[in-house]
Symmetry: C2
C-alpha cells in the first residue's frame, strides 16, 4: 500500500480554500483528520467528529510528548492536529488535507518534511478585497484585519511548494490543480529514493 | 503569454516513450522541435520536417557559438537540438518535448535549469527484458546491448525530477501522469519567484 500524501492548504480570507477542500474530500482518496481542541463543544458538536474535545492538561501533555503535528492558540484555547490520527490516515493510503494557517504550515514542514505545502490565492489583493466586501457579512474593522493579515501570510509564500490561484468561479479548477499536484508529487524522484536499485530486483 | 515548459523524456528501450510522447503531441499544447543532424537524408525524409540536414562545419560552428541546446555523436554523425528553434516553441506557450538519452538530458539541465526531466521506466528490469524479447525483431546481441545500456541509464535516475512507470498497456496513464506533472510544475512556487510581490500590485 502506497502511503498517502500530507497536504497543507493555506490561504487568506476569500481564497475559497473551504470550498476547494470540500471538493477534494468528495473523493475517498482524500481525508481530513479531526483536530483536537481545549474549547468546550458547542450545541450539536460531536466529540470525534467536529473535534476531539480534550482538557488543557491533556493537550499540554501531548505537546510535551511530541504527539501534536502542529498546534496553535486562539482565544485562550488550544487547537491542533494529533500526530497519531494524521499518520493513520497516511498509512491507509489516503491523502490527508490540513487546512491550516501559515505558522502551523511551517511547523508541519519541520515535523514532517514530506508534507506538500500549497497556498491558495485570489488572483490579486484587489480582487480579494472586493470579495471580502462583497460578502457584506463582516464589519469594516474585521475586513481590514483580514486584509492586513494577508500581508504576513503571502510573505511566507516562498516557503510553500505550490501556489494555486482561485480565479472567478475557479474552485473546480483549483481542485483539479491540487489533484495534478498530488499525482505529480507521487511521481517525484525524491519520493522514490530507492527506485534505481529496486528496478533491478 | 505564459512560457511553455521544456520537458525531457528519457527511457530505456522498451519503456514506450515513443508511444507516450505521440499521445502528448496529439494536443496543441505540446510540440517537438526538429533536431539537426550531419547525416545524409534517407529517401523520403524532408529537410525541416524529419531533421535539419546541415554540414559538419555548420554543426560544429553552432556548438562553438553555444547555439545547440544539446548534441550527441552517433555513428560518426552529429545529432542535436538547436537552441533557437527550442526557445521559439517555449515562447509560443507550448510545452516542448525532447526525447533524448541520459547524457543529453544532463546537458540540457545544465544549459536550461528550468527543464523538467522525466524518466519513463518499465515496471522492472525483468519486464523490460521480456518486452524486448517479445518484439522478436532484434538479434540476441542487440537485445543484450540494450539491456546492458539500461544499467547506466537508470543509474542516473536521481538526477531526474520524475519517474513514470509504464505498466501493462499503460501508455495512456503515463501520458496523463506527464500532463499532471506539467500542470503541477506550472503551479510550483519556484516558477513564480515574484508571486508574493505581484500579488499586491
Amino acid at each position: 500500500m502506497e502511503k498517502g500524501l500530507l497536504i497543507v492548504v493555506s490561504g487568506p480570507a476569500g481564497s475559497g480554500k473551504g470550498t476547494v477542500n470540500a471538493m477534494l474530500l468528495e473523493s475517498e482518496e482524500y481525508a481530513f483528520s479531526v483536530s483536537a481542541t481545549t474549547r468546550d463543544p458547542r450545541p450539536g458538536e460531536v466529540h470525534g467528529k467536529n473535534y476531539l474535545y480534550i482538557t488543557r492538561e491533556d493537550f499540554e501533555g501531548r505537546i510535551a510528548r511530541g504527539e501534536m503535528l502542529e498546534h496553535t492558540v486562539y482565544c485562550d484555547n488550544y487547537y491542533g492536529t494529533p500526530l497519531k490520527e494524521a499518520m493513520e490516515v497516511l498509512e491507509s493510503g489516503r491523502n490527508l488535507i490540513l487546512e491550516i494557517e501559515v505558522e502551523g504550515a511551517m511547523n508541519v514542514k519541520r515535523r514532517y518534511p514530506d508534507a506538500v505545502l500549497i497556498m491558495l490565492l485570489p488572483p490579486s489583493f484587489a480582487v480579494q478585497e472586493a470579495r471580502l466586501r462583497g460578502r457584506a457579512t463582516e464589519t469594516e474593522d474585521c475586513i481590514l484585519k483580514r486584509l492586513e493579515r494577508t500581508k504576513s501570510e503571502v510573505a511566507l509564500l516562498n516557503h510553500y511548494d505550490y501556489v494555486v490561484y482561485n480565479r472567478d468561479n475557479g474552485a473546480g479548477i483549483c481542485a483539479d490543480d491540487i489533484r495534478a499536484i498530488v499525482r505529480a508529487e507521487k511521481c517525484s524522484v525524491r519520493r522514490h529514493a530507492k527506485a534505481s536499485e529496486d528496478y533491478f530486483v
